[in-house]
């Protein structure tokens, strides 16, 4: 891409200095984590009580960390915007959690889980982090069982496993279709135990709106947050020795996604604006098995667990004329089991990005099924007839009963007798705040865990690996690395009247006042929907230079209109859900632009990022390792604002790109093949 006279690449961003992660110790990969834990400084138990840590988020990543740090004796403040920590979005995970236990003796090992995850991520993740994830995975299962998580068991009383997309071993532990719920309840109970013990203070219905960063240059430290009590509207200051963001992913930038309604980017975006680099924002996962959109009032999309692909077979009619027929009347010979056809060795179990794109392809060809949405049918069949014939209806009910019920309730159709219809939907975001091996962001003292960071899944996440990462970060990684920071970075005293605190508070108050004062014509949701359409159209399953440039223009226009024309009624000093949504959408409107810039600059296809310009002859993603084997970490720059006007609408200046080169010492770089 070309650089113009103002130093801007493509008129959009600047190149900055490369960054590196120096925290992982040298030596063989199997020894790095043990060494890091050993080298990390200790905090004397008597001193821990005097050290405070703020944890934003009570999902698996935040809940597990808060409980563990509480047990260790630190003073923890835990925040969530729901009315109870147990309602964090992790609760909705269905399918399962991976662990290299090799209980099935099918050749699994830490090495294989490591390899599968790096390959699944299309060679865009950091080896050292992924190896550690695989290494601690087994401990997670032990910990959860000890807490009373009721995983599925076999008749002998031992734990059962299933297999998930993108791998050929059975390493996924599950609790029917409610694995996330059961794991989160485990973490939540451990957290509540610490609340009772007095080590954790719990702040529910609180939303973090700003991070407090004190000091300049190398002396910068994250020292607290500004939060709004969502019930009283009060703006509160919370100070601490370190801050952890475990605030989940940003898939709701697409408006329609499988994420919970409240999932948002505000916590990480505010931190990004304060100096935390945002890595690989364009890496989004579109999940292949979701219930298709039914109408224009749709508020969210519902996932059907990927585990269904173990027994369900995916197909569309071979002939377009058959698309509106009753699927049961379409003869076997007239069906195209396209995944089994194209990928004989993985079949229906190919990774998510591939399954999604192929579904899009067959629908684009006009062979989709179900109602016409927009200008074509967006759906493919997921058929259990063979499984029911083979295993019996009871066995299928036992495995997937709750998912089938949910499908029936939403669509009004019975999946036991007629094939399900599914279509891809936005599900997970691999990108997130950049962190080093210690999970620390570019702001010292600000740590990021779970889906909120970028660390382990490269350009595509394998099924059942997000729960694994959230709990690995929360129970085992962060508690070990944060103590090194707490022990070695003594914080200077900070009071509520320090400039850093006063400034952060003022920003929050001004923004809130501004949102309420605009009193324009359009609702927050209408902006959110429009942004979602732009993102889905131009930064969704397939991206092109032309489309992305168009999207950037559209988003800028929409953002400017938002700050001029949004209507947020009600007051600041009360429960005001429109105000909450407005703040979140304002941040999505900035994030969306960065996602498009990131997608535009990455002129290769990898994992969930598919650039139309970069594909093989048969339409598979084509990576360019020589040019793009790096993490793109973006630094925020404030908008240029010469005439002193308020900068709310302008939002952001040209971001600066810092590259972290990915070197593969232990795994050989290859083009992925699932054929």
């Amino acid at each position: 891409m070309t650089e113009n006279s103002s130093g801007l690449v493509h008129g959009l961003y600047r190149d900055g200095a490369p960054i590196a992660d120096h925290k992982a110790p040298a030596g063989p990969i199997e020894q790095k984590w043990t060494r890091r834990k050993f080298e990390a400084a200790l905090v004397n138990p008597a001193n821990r009580r005097k050290m405070s840590v703020i944890i934003v988020g009570t999902g698996l990543a935040g809940g597990a960390a808060a409980a563990t740090l509480g047990e260790a004796g630190y003073h923890v403040k835990s925040f969530c915007f729901q009315d109870s920590p147990r309602r964090a979005h992790s609760i909705a995970a269905q399918g399962g959690i991976n662990a290299a236990k090799n209980y099935k003796e099918d050749g699994d090992s830490v090495q294989r889980l490591f390899y599968d995850t790096v390959k699944g991520g299309d060679y865009r993740s950091r080896e050292t982090n992924v190896y550690r994830l695989a290494e601690v995975s087994a401990n997670i299962i032990d910990q959860c069982v000890a807490q009373g998580v009721p995983f599925a068991r076999e008749y002998g009383g031992l734990l059962d496993n299933r297999s998930f997309g993108g791998v050929q071993v059975s390493r996924t532990f599950y609790a029917r279709g409610q694995t996330g719920q059961q794991l989160l309840i485990g973490a939540y109970q451990a957290l509540e135990r610490q609340v009772a013990a007095g080590t954790v203070e719990q702040f529910t219905r609180h939303e973090m709106l700003e991070v407090i960063v004190d000091g300049e240059g190398s002396e910068r430290r994250a020292r607290g947050i500004i939060a709004r009590d969502l019930v009283t509207g009060e703006i509160e200051t919370h100070l601490a020795d370190a801050v952890v963001l475990a605030s989940g992913g940003y898939g709701n930038v697409f408006f329609l996604s499988t994420n919970a309604m409240g999932s948002n980017v505000t916590a990480t975006w505010r931190a990004h604006r304060k100096g935390a680099h945002f890595a690989n924002p364009c890496y989004t996962q579109i999940h292949p098995t979701c219930i298709p959109v039914a109408g224009e009032h749709q508020s969210k999309l519902t996932l059907m667990s990927e585990s269904l692909r173990n027994d369900g077979r995916i197909w569309v009619p071979k002939k377009r004329e058959d698309c509106d027929k009753d699927p049961r009347d379409i003869a076997e010979d007239d069906r195209d089991y396209y995944l089994e056809r194209i990928y004989p060795s993985f079949g229906n179990l190919v990774p998510r990005d591939i399954a999604s794109r192929q579904a899009k392809n067959v629908c684009d060809e006009g062979r989709g099924v179900g109602p016409v949405v927009g200008d074509f049918r967006r759906g493919v069949y997921l058929d259990f007839a063979d499984a029911i014939a083979r295993l019996g209806e009871d066995a299928v009910r036992n495995k997937y009963g709750n998912l089938f019920d949910m499908y029936a309730r939403i669509t009004g159709e019975d999946p036991y007798t007629t094939p399900m219809r599914i279509y891809p939907a936005v599900h997970y975001t691999m990108g997130g705040l950049w962190v080093d091996y210690d999970l620390q962001s570019t702001i010292p003292g600000l740590f990021v865990t779970g889906e909120a960071n970028f660390s382990d899944h490269g350009a595509n996440r394998l099924g059942a690996s997000a729960l694994m990462q959230g709990l690995a970060d929360g129970y085992f990684v962060l508690p070990n690395t944060i103590r090194d920071y707490l022990a070695t970075s003594p914080a200077t005293p900070l009071t509520e009247d320090s400039p850093a605190v006063v400034g952060a508070r003022r920003e929050v108050e001004e923004r809130t006042e501004r949102l309420l004062a605009i009193n324009g014509e359009r609702s927050v949701d209408s902006f959110h929907r429009e942004l979602g359409n732009i993102m889905w159209e131009y930064c969704g399953m397939e991206r092109s230079e032309e489309g992305l440039l168009k999207a950037i223009d559209l988003i800028r226009g929409l953002r400017a209109e938002f700050w001029r024309n949004v209507r947020v009624l009600g007051a600041a000093d009360t429960l005001n859900q429109s105000l909450e949504k407005a703040g979140r959408v304002a941040d999505f409107l900035e994030l969306g632009e960065l996602m498009c810039i990131d997608a535009l600059h990455r002129r290769e296809s990898c994992g969930g990022h598919f650039r139309a310009e970069s594909q093989t002859e048969d339409g598979e993603a084509l990576r360019h390792d020589d040019e793009f084997a790096y993490v793109a970490a973006w630094e925020f720059t404030p908008p240029h604002d010469t005439d002193g006007e308020t900068t709310f609408g302008a939002g952001m200046g040209a971001p600066v790109l810092h590259k972290e080169d990915l070197t593969y010492e232990f795994i050989e770089l290859k083009q992925r093949s699932y054929k």
């Binding site: 597990a64 409980a67 563990t68 047990e71 729901q82 009315d83 109870s84 920590p85 147990r86 309602r87 979005h89 909705a92 209980y103 032990d142 069982v145 000890a146 807490q147 009373g148 009721p150 995983f151 068991r153 008749y155 002998g156 009383g157 031992l158 734990l159 609790a175 409610q178 996330g180 719920q181 059961q182 309840i185 109970q189 451990a190 509540e192 135990r193 009772a196 019930v231 309604m261 409240g262 039914a294 109408g295 009032h297 749709q298 508020s299 519902t302 949910m406 309730r409 939403i410 009004g412 129970y475 085992f476 508690p479 609702s523 949701d525 009624l569 009600g570 009360t574 429960l575 429109s578």
Partner: protein
């Protein structure tokens, strides 16, 4: 379809509140109940009226955030969560009353939003197994018979929505409490704290102002996860045993 909605509006805990009537037309049967309320809120916003506050998050029936009394039934006419209720369960011309959960232990925050913090405090009183991170033995060290594991799972499916409390004429939280006692009591890992747990949790339940159980069974009927009433029998049994052990 066309509907008449009577919705509880209350600006805050100190306001007396009351039902306000809204008319809705052209509602699609494929919409969820909450999407129908979204449409109403968009309309209110356009007319300069403040939208109705109600809770929801996952909209998949698993987080337990949503919960409305719909024409006198907790979560409405079907056995599911409010977010999973669809308009096809109603008829053209219906009048639907929408109210918040009503219970002394669930004070109203605003409109249809209530404070369910009491449920968290019941868990704090002992609804856990004390197992510090890092201290766990191998997961296969203690096999759990499948029947026990399955019953534990059934009880652990509780989503903590509070429908059981809202449906009960005594506003009792015993189904919620019994579900947790049963979940942890079925597992070998839950045995060491079993007696202390039940005594402490029952004490907290009563302290929060939840009522007693008189075997009405409305709780289980309203439970979107179908948690059976026998978890309350289990609770009573565990409580008797604990008291016998001198707890």
């Amino acid at each position: 379809m066309n509907l008449t909605l009577k919705i509880w509006r209350q600006t805050g805990p100190d306001d007396t509140g009351g039902l306000v009537t809204y008319r809705m037309s052209d509602i699609s049967p494929d919409m969820s109940f909450l999407e129908m309320l979204d449409v109403l809120n968009e309309k209110l916003n356009a007319n300069g009226e403040e939208p109705i506050a109600f809770d929801s998050d996952c909209r998949e029936g698993i987080c337990g955030m949503c919960g409305l009394m719909i024409s006198g039934h907790a979560h409405g006419p079907e056995r599911t969560t409010t977010c999973q209720l669809h308009m096809r369960s109603f008829k053209n011309g219906d009048t639907i009353t929408v109210e918040p959960w009503r219970a002394e232990a669930f004070p109203i925050v605003r409109d249809l939003v209530v404070d369910r913090g009491g449920l968290d405090r019941i868990i704090q009183a002992g609804g856990y197994i004390s197992a510090n991170t890092g201290s766990a033995p191998d997961a296969h060290a203690t096999p759990v018979p499948k029947d026990n594991a399955d019953r534990a799972f059934m009880a652990a499916e509780c989503i903590g929505c509070g429908a059981c409390v809202a449906a009960c004429p005594n506003a009792s939280g015993m189904l919620f409490l019994g579900a947790k006692i049963t979940h942890l009591g079925e597992l070998p890992q839950g045995q060491p704290e079993r007696d202390a747990r039940v005594v402490s949790m029952v004490g907290q339940h009563d302290h929060e102002g939840f009522g007693g159980c008189t075997n009405v069974g409305a709780c289980s009927q309203a439970c979107p996860k179908g948690i059976p009433q026998d978890v309350i029998s289990q609770l009573n049994k565990d409580l008797r045993t604990a008291l016998k052990h001198g707890r």
